[in-house]
Amino acid sequence: MIVKADLHIHSVLSPCADLEMSPVNIVTRAAQMGLALIAVTDHNCTLHGPLTRSLAARQGIYCLFGAEVNTREEIHCLCLVDTEEQRLALQDYIEQNITRIPNKPEVFGYQVQVNEQEEIVQEIDYLLHAALKRSIDEVAGFVHGIGGVFIPAHVDRPKYSVTSQLGFVPPSLQYDALEISKNSLVEQFRKSNPIKPNTQFIRNSDSHFIHQVGSTYTEYDLENLSFKCFKEALLGQGHSSVLPVV
């Protein structure tokens, strides 16, 4: 089955995201855009995963759990997992390792968790945009250790990317794919970075506003709509694959 996926969407938990970005609105928009696979990846936070997954299921959409983790080098990385047990492990790792800075909502924005009725159930009091005290290699190792997928985000961008912070993609970095923004071509990026020839690239919207959800996506040919097949597609295993990203 050909699946349209947008795996980098921020909700109202992210201080920089619009207050319209509730799980209800995200799923509604994802359905309108024909997405079948999504992930809510807030900055250093997985807490909107379970609600979004249950809402998405009613629309026939599968929602992965995860977060956009900010490493010690201030590199944003998509960390995607599947089970509630994995999500809790990732959430715990983030909470144990994040630099605790009190949030100032009037400066950075609100960080609220909401329910299906869009009522606020929790406000996170520490700044979710802060960096973890763990290096990119350590975060990659942790995510792989719990069976997750590790994807450095918007690798071509001049801010918070592996290339802005570390100059180029480290040849030793263990990643499952690289996320490239809509502003660059894969061929151009390869010219300036000594990356493995079999590196898989994907694109996502990095949505902070509701109209952006699904505006940029990647298509996958999956044997079935599951995390296992998604992971196999990235790694070029089994019968699933990623449709060409140029």
Binding site: S135, D137, L166, G167
Partner: protein
């Protein structure tokens, strides 16, 4: 002035790359964005940073950096040490933060 002279004058710790302690120091550059260092650091500079990743050594080699100073007591990662020894570019350390050590290095270089 050599890297060794700077180590002694600023009371720096030497983590690795001792074979490069006689390199000539002709300036300094303070930045934590490796993309910025790649574009702008002058050859012969001592590079002051908080980044400890192995890519630091690749960029230092590319730009002919004379030595790297890690600030705030940060220590290089194991593979960064290996590359420092291979490339003979010393990694030095201080407990001071970047502003303070940058000022001291500036005064040292410009007083000669």
């Amino acid at each position: 002035m050599t890297v060794k002279d700077v180590v002694e004058a600023l009371n720096l710790k030497v983590y690795s790359g001792t074979a490069g302690l006689n390199k000539e120091v002709t300036g300094g550059y303070t930045s934590d964005l490796l993309s910025d260092v790649m574009g702008n650091a002058p050859a012969g500079a001592i590079w002051i940073t908080l980044q400890t990743h192995v890519n630091v050594m690749a960029v230092a080699t590319l730009k002919d950096i004379s030595a790297v100073i890690l600030v705030k007591g940060l220590e290089p990662e194991a593979n960064t040490v290996v590359q420092s020894n291979n490339e003979e570019i010393p990694i030095l350390g201080t407990n001071l933060q970047a502003f303070e050590i940058s000022g001291m290095l500036y005064n040292l270089i410009h007083s000669k």
